[in-house]
């Protein structure tokens, strides 16, 4: 039973240390506590199940960041399919929406992320949402800095066109 006890200790340790960060990130990207809890649970289940294949060099936090980003982007895409994105309830606690943003811009962000191409959406989260430098994002995405720049440029062009298209449709 020692193996399972060790695994449980590791889970508790990781959860206490990294859990709030995973939760905060999921809550911001998904917009409510129910989905953030769901995401945190799924991220840790996936992480604990896949820990043998995890690259120790990258660091646990980098690895969890990556799983959380991918999971949340998938949820946003699923929501898009269910046409629920516009109907979601926004948190009024103020903590889910960072300091410099308003509710409308966060809603717009989620909608764009739900429609964008997967790699472009990831780069947008790392650079535009998290505020990472291109080098930092490149490390998290395991691509070159140049690729980050190209993906970001494509995302921005696409997002501008998408916003314009919407304005014209109003």
């Amino acid at each position: 039973m020692r193996d399972s006890n060790n695994a449980d200790e590791q889970l508790s340790g990781w959860f206490e240390k990294y859990g709030p960060s995973v939760y905060r990130r999921a809550r911001y990207l998904l917009g409510n506590d129910d989905d953030a809890r769901e995401a945190t649970q799924e991220v840790f289940i996936r992480a604990m199940k896949a820990q043998r294949t995890f690259e120790a060099r990258a660091g646990v936090h980098t690895w969890l960041y990556r799983i959380t980003t991918n999971y949340c982007l998938n949820v946003l895409r699923d929501r898009k399919r269910r046409k629920e994105l516009w109907e979601e309830n926004m948190s009024d606690s103020g903590q889910a929406v960072p300091f410099t943003q308003n509710v409308e811009s966060v809603m717009l962000l989620r909608r764009l992320l739900s429609e964008a191409e997967a790699q472009q959406a990831r780069v947008a989260v790392y650079v535009l949402v998290d505020g990472m430098s291109h080098s930092e994002a490149a490390r998290y995405m395991k691509v070159s800095r140049r690729t980050v720049g190209n993906l970001l440029e494509r995302f921005k062009k696409w997002a501008e066109a998408r916003i314009l298209e919407e304005k014209e449709g109003e």
């Binding site: 840790f44 960072p98 300091f99």
Partner: protein, 263 residues
């Protein structure tokens, strides 16, 4: 909207502020000394980032609705299969254990064949509409007032309860979970965005997504259906209060909910 407006729109901090990831790593003290000092210097001059750091220092206490203990319960429950695998792998560490295990497995296999043979000879037994003896199982976890616990078929549930499901599948196939209201009406539970069954491997899996019980009261049923062919909710027929008929070639497992008012 120009590019720079997009930057302003999405960014959670000023461009010269540390990223979320960097601030997290500063908080965990895993940065090298030079970077740790550089972030410290920034924090000294930036009240917004000090606020971001204070938020991190509160951990889960920063979120009223986080319920970390309840989340840990669900994670542990989702990892049960992994623990089982670990125990099995531990058994195979020495040749003696392998031999012991082989004998044990043989005894288990003979017993299983005997049980299956006996079951198949029960008069009137068929795969349709009956709980499989091969291990098809629907387990239900309920989150109520921040606590998660496993519920048993026939237990009392209340409006607002949040349910998650774990399924044990004896073989690969198309999986559908439907609910049946007291009136006999069927509604889909899993997959959440489609009435069609999702193809899954033979396994014990925590299903993605959760459902919240509505305000209606009375007896309801949840039915886990596993079919070798694609299955759709429209292929199931409700037989009033007595149950749900599933297509030929499918097996099913029923879980009963007794929905009562919140005490």
């Amino acid at each position: 909207m120009a590019h720079r407006d997009l930057d302003k729109l999405f960014s959670t901090a000023r461009s010269d502020c540390p990223s979320d990831a960097l601030l997290d790593r500063y908080h965990w003290r895993v940065l090298d000394d030079e970077l740790q000092q550089s972030v410290s210097a920034h924090l000294h001059d930036c009240p917004m980032c000090r606020q971001r750091l204070e938020f991190r220092e509160k951990g889960f206490h920063a979120f009223d609705a986080a319920r970390p203990e309840a989340m840990l319960d669900v994670i542990r429950s989702g990892l049960n299969k992994g623990v089982f695998s670990t125990l099995i792998s531990g058994i195979f560490k020495t040749p003696l254990r392998i031999a012991t295990t082989a004998v044990g497995a043989l005894v288990l296999l003979v017993s299983l064949v005997f049980v299956l043979y006996s079951y198949n000879n029960v008069p009137g037994a068929s795969s349709s509409g009956m709980r499989s003896m091969g291990g098809l199982e629907l387990r239900v976890f309920v989150e109520r007032s921040g606590r998660v616990s496993e519920a048993l078929s026939g237990d009392e549930f209340h409006p607002g309860d949040r349910l998650r499901f774990k399924v044990s599948l004896p073989h690969e196939g198309f999986v559908l979970v439907v609910g049946q209201e007291d009136s006999g009406r069927l509604y889909r539970v899993f997959p959440i965005d489609s009435g069609k069954g999702e193809r899954m491997q033979s396994s014990i899996s925590l299903l993605p997504g959760a459902v919240r019980l509505d305000s209606s009261l009375g007896k309801e049923k949840l039915l886990l259906v596993l079919c070798s062919q694609p299955v759709d909710i429209h292929m199931l027929s409700s037989s009033g209060h007595s149950g749900i008929e599933v297509p030929s070639g499918c097996i099913s497992s029923i879980f009963e909910l007794n929905k009562t008012k919140v005490p």
